[in-house]
Subunit: 348 residues, 2 copies
Amino acid sequence: MVERGPTGQREREILTAIVETYISSGEPVASRTLARGNKDGLSPATIRNVMADLADSGYLEQPHTSAGRVPSAKAYRYYVEQLTGRAHLSEADQDLIQGSFRGVRDAQEFMERTSHVLSLISSGVGVAMTVAGPRNALEHVYFSRVSANKVLAVVVTRSGLVRDRLLRLDQDLSQADLDTAARYLNENFRGWTLDAIQAEVVRRMESARSEYDHLMQSVEELYRGGALAADESHQNVYVEGVSNLVVSEADQERLREMLRTLEEKQRLAELLQAYLDAKQEAVRVVIGLEDTLPQMRNFVLIGAPARVGGEMVGSLAVIGPTRMDYEHTITAVSYIAKLFDKILNETQ
Amino acid sequence: MVERGPTGQREREILTAIVETYISSGEPVASRTLARGNKDGLSPATIRNVMADLADSGYLEQPHTSAGRVPSAKAYRYYVEQLTGRAHLSEADQDLIQGSFRGVRDAQEFMERTSHVLSLISSGVGVAMTVAGPRNALEHVYFSRVSANKVLAVVVTRSGLVRDRLLRLDQDLSQADLDTAARYLNENFRGWTLDAIQAEVVRRMESARSEYDHLMQSVEELYRGGALAADESHQNVYVEGVSNLVVSEADQERLREMLRTLEEKQRLAELLQAYLDAKQEAVRVVIGLEDTLPQMRNFVLIGAPARVGGEMVGSLAVIGPTRMDYEHTITAVSYIAKLFDKILNETQ
DNA sequence: ATTGGCACTCTCGTACCGAGAGTGCCAACC
DNA sequence: GGTTGGCACTCTCGGTACGAGAGTGCCAAT
């Protein structure tokens, strides 16, 4: 019962070879096959011995007694680990990606295209989202009177997100009132996060209750109408490439479940948020998504946070079958994540 | 070779019964089955005779010699035709639909939920879109300086659509310039369609070229930056319920094709636009989508335009298998289309 | 430690068979 | 003449059997 990973040089080589062969062929790999491709000229029997060891330590599984071996989740984790460092993206892919983002102006657009490109490049589903969370810093807010008691609020955040929302108010504020309120908010709170603003507005309203002036009354009204609410429910999640699932997943019921899950943007957002955080530097590869989502058995998440400056404003990821081109996908995700920061910085 | 539809009373009854039985069972319907369910007490043999006639006139098809009959596209068209009038939506569904639209404020939100509800209610894919076309009437435009040469433009249309866009300008306009330009556009063009405004702006710029003032220069700059462009490319198309396809379409390759098509929002938009227009009063049912989209063989579109007042601002539809509950889906689509007008009118 | 040899296991494609479901048509019937 | 029972014929589908092929596990020899 060896529990500290493949020790020997040969053991590691063979494990890597098995994973790679299985990824490209999709069939359980046999000792013969490996022996053929191996320049060391080892015999199948020798390889069988090593394979038996690897199976004992949980790296390989056997569909049935007389079939070849299939890598386990543990094997994929080892493989990805071992891969780290030799990342390089082909010229062609760099061009494809660069081209896809030509003319992109804001984070929304970027994310939309990201999901598209990722679905093209990988054999999985491209997912990208912006966090419309309360952590976003305010850049600008505008109000515009649409009709009696209806006001359009537009919030622009520092990270380039634009969020418009139609408010229904109890009072009928004039455009002049709205302009004053907007100026007040912009001058006092530019750069603050939305939740900080909310808290502060509440505080000021309370302390100013004695000398309750017209301005604060407008602000209160707008606040209560939800002008500054950071509605989690309306996150923008872009998903593309679900047709890729059809080939990698034969089971009808599973496929159906997965499609359903991918349509529940809310859960998808939680999934990404669970695995990706602002601090992490590199791309994260999660093998064994079934811990969070049972229907995602045999699927993998390869994702990275999208940052502008130091701030995390979204996530991008590929959700694909365990049998995928890790090296390629990882480098692509990493490349796009870096591109995001670059493009969005120069856009500001 | 009879070519004027099912003539006799009995012929019609049997055809209807066949379509209904096939829709609910999914299996070729046999003369026996029909004889059992028929209170007229006809024998299977009699029914076989009628079925043979219906097959001759192209209403029925036979998978193989000794199988029951399957309705042809022609039969479905007859069936839907014949259905017209007896539309009624159950209380439960009315409640479900009503509930789904609680709190909806603008057309975008409405469409998003429409695609969701339709996918739940029908056995197909719910599709809904707003036309971001040039025919929309301007309600309001705002500009806001984001940074040097970067301006945020927000266009609100009369039908409740809000469209924001980040412009890159050659000149650096001050916020005061922008406010003046916005006031100019709002005062002069409220209620005009976007393309009319574009044309008129060009005309005025030319005629005013002699006495070229500061205001017109700002307006020209904004115009050239695309402030008023009605970008077709960025229509908002909402698609939901693709998981429903898995059950109705077994063929892997077809399924894949369909999923891919449903992700191409642009083509989907064209499809809807091809079949739905502002003038049509009722729900339109298109049987035989393969004429437009080959991969949509055996699929059906049930759709209606979404109108506010007289103006068409979007479309909603169900794309589902020929084997679906037509009555139910048609009434649901019709109901939601009416609801759209009602909700969006009172929102304005 | 490595290897050849060999018995054993499991899958997969093919062929075959019989039951079941349905039709088509004919002759009889009302 | 429309309707019906009867019957031969066709086609599908599930189950079984079987042989080829691929692979392993293990042992004895190197």
